[in-house]
């Protein structure tokens, strides 16, 4: 509509210049005295006219080029655009919308009723209602539909919005239509894969844990029945390996279940951080006591964070047990938190320490700081789980160490919470 108005204006300007030029030349023939001046003026107007026509041609080609580019982009995106005057029902469709619908481009776009006839009968009424409601309320809409007699059974997504006139009345409906068939197929495939992944993990977990049950349950019994120290020693080796496998199985299941983050929504709540750390320390008191590890909870009792409680509990459980594993007996662990947005929580130990490279890799799956040691009881997955949880919360986690033997600090960020 705007382009047509501009063309009229340009034509009027060209006619005015042309008229002025012609009248000057005619006038110059009648008045000999002012002839040179009028001729110069007429020449100037003709040059202006040529320049103007040049600009017009350039404008026309630029417009054509932009139209071709837009058409190319629409074709690549399987997208068509359209516009419809609400009072008259007259409309415009981009070339690619015709192509998407398998129709030859025409100068007059199908009216609303013709368009509805193109829609699959099962979707027709729904689309009619959606469009009418959007026009009535002057809002936008989003709707999917199929076409009648479409052998490819494609699905289209139409998005429209109402543009109001100066008086505020709904005047024009503008929008896009996109072929989303492939996108939907990909989405369904992803959903299927994720569902299958969950079933697979569940079955694998079941099938691995079942044979581990008699080993875990009966090895202590066999140990009690053993007559010699040597036998008990050998059984302890078996038991420790069984516990290692159990740990790997459980942590692998946890990692796999948490992926992708959107698959398992978090339950956000405001948590008094100090209380949560205290209860985690309480639960691990036996392990801490057996290693004679002293742990200090330095978190401010007034500090509140926003997180999923059980997930955060898991992070502290893993960080503490990891610090315990890599700290000599009698070590000290400190848990502190710097307030702010975000809150930065730090678990620091005075254990074996790490190189810079190890600090950057320790959150990777199956990474172990001391590859030569193959320490049992560490699946190398605890910190990967921590990273997954922290990142699912929108935070980040990192480790800092002053070097071998100088302890390690693991920090992570959490969103500050409101009053609990």
């Amino acid at each position: 509509m705007r382009v047509a108005r501009r063309t009229v204006v340009l034509t009027l300007i060209v006619s005015a210049i042309l008229g002025a030029g012609v009248s000057l030349i005619v006038e110059s023939g009648h008045h000999q005295a002012s002839r040179p001046l009028q001729l110069t003026l007429a020449l100037g107007l003709v040059i202006l006219l040529i320049a103007f026509i040049g600009a017009l041609v350039h404008y026309h080609y630029s417009l054509e080029q932009a139209k071709r580019n837009l058409d190319e982009a629409q074709s690549l995106a399987l997208l068509g655009s359209w516009e419809r005057d609400i009072p008259t029902g007259r409309g415009y469709w981009s070339d690619n919308r015709y192509r998407l619908f398998g129709l030859p481009p025409r100068s007059k776009a199908p009216d609303l009723e013709e368009f509805y006839q193109l829609v699959h009968p099962e979707d027709r009424q729904r689309i009619k209602n959606t469009v009418s409601e959007a026009c009535r309320a002057g809002t936008g809409y989003e709707a999917t539909y199929r076409l009648a007699d479409d052998r490819q059974h494609r699905v289209f997504l139409s998005r429209g919005k109402v543009v109001r006139d100066e008086a505020g009345k709904p005047a024009t409906l503008v929008g896009t239509t996109q072929d989303i068939t492939e996108k939907l197929q990909q989405q369904r495939l992803t959903e299927d894969l994720l569902r299958n992944k969950d079933v697979f993990i569940s079955r694998l977990g079941h099938d691995l844990k079942t044979p581990l049950t008699p080993l875990t349950a009966l090895l202590p019994l066999i140990r009690n029945l053993s007559a010699s120290d040597r036998q008990r020693e050998l059984i302890d080796i078996c038991a420790s390996n069984v516990s290692h496998i159990t740990d790997i199985v459980e942590k692998t299941m946890q990692l796999a279940r948490r992926f992708p983050p959107s698959h398992r929504p978090l339950v956000w709540e405001s948590i008094v951080l100090k209380g949560l750390v205290d209860s985690c320390i309480d639960q691990m008191s036996q392990v801490l006591a057996s290693q004679a590890i002293e742990i200090k909870n330095l978190v401010d009792p007034a500090l509140i964070v926003s997180a999923d409680r059980s997930e955060l509990y898991e992070v502290f459980g893993n960080l503490i047990s990891n610090a315990v594993k890599f700290s000599p007996s009698g070590s000290r662990l400190n848990i502190s938190a710097a307030p702010g947005e975000p809150v930065t929580v730090t678990v620091s130990d005075n254990g074996i320490g790490l190189s810079e490279e190890e600090c950057s890799q320790m959150f990777d799956e199956f990474y172990k700081a001391d590859t030569s040691r193959h320490a049992l009881g560490s699946a190398g997955l605890g910190l990967s789980i921590c990273r997954q949880i922290v990142e699912n919360h929108g935070g980040r986690i990192w480790a800092v160490s002053n070097g071998k033997g100088l302890g390690t600090s693991v920090s992570f960020t959490l969103a500050q919470g409101g009053a609990s």
Partner: protein, 142 residues
């Protein structure tokens, strides 16, 4: 193996724990583990055997597997409930699944606990003894 606290509380020799599990290795493990702790055990390989034992007069604690072919643990509990065979029996799930199970919807009042496999034997025994004590309390209250 020393006798347990629960042993004195129950009648000697009578089976007081029923293990329902389709895996033979689990049934054997539980028989040995509970047997050494002095706790009487009967086993069932699925829903039908479990219901048959209950109809035969079993009273006590039921450790129920979840994933079983045919009718799973939850289906079996629903059937026990419908058949009026709960009769103060204590049911705890004993399963290799460790995620909240949506199928337990509506059975929270019947199932008192959820033990995951593999378990620490001492923890399992402590739990079973607690269930037995609770069962005894319910019996004496009746």
């Amino acid at each position: 193996m020393s006798s347990c606290e629960g042993q004195e509380a129950i009648a000697a020799g009578a089976p007081h724990v029923m293990v329902v599990d389709d895996e033979e290795v689990i049934r054997q493990t539980m028989e040995v583990l509970l047997g050494y702790a002095g706790i009487g055990v009967v086993t069932a390989s699925g829903s039908d055997e479990c219901l048959a034992l209950l109809r035969g007069g079993f009273r006590g604690v039921i450790l129920m597997d979840v994933m079983m072919p045919g009718r799973n643990g939850w289906d079996t509990i629903r059937e026990i409930k419908q058949a009026g065979l709960l009769r103060g029996n204590i049911i705890s799930m004993l399963t290799a699944m460790d995620v909240p199970d949506l199928q337990m919807e509506g059975l929270q009042d019947v199932v008192i606990d959820y033990i995951t496999k593999p378990f620490e034997p001492q923890e399992l025994l402590a739990s079973v003894r607690r269930y037995l004590e609770f069962f005894e309390q319910l019996q004496s209250a009746e």
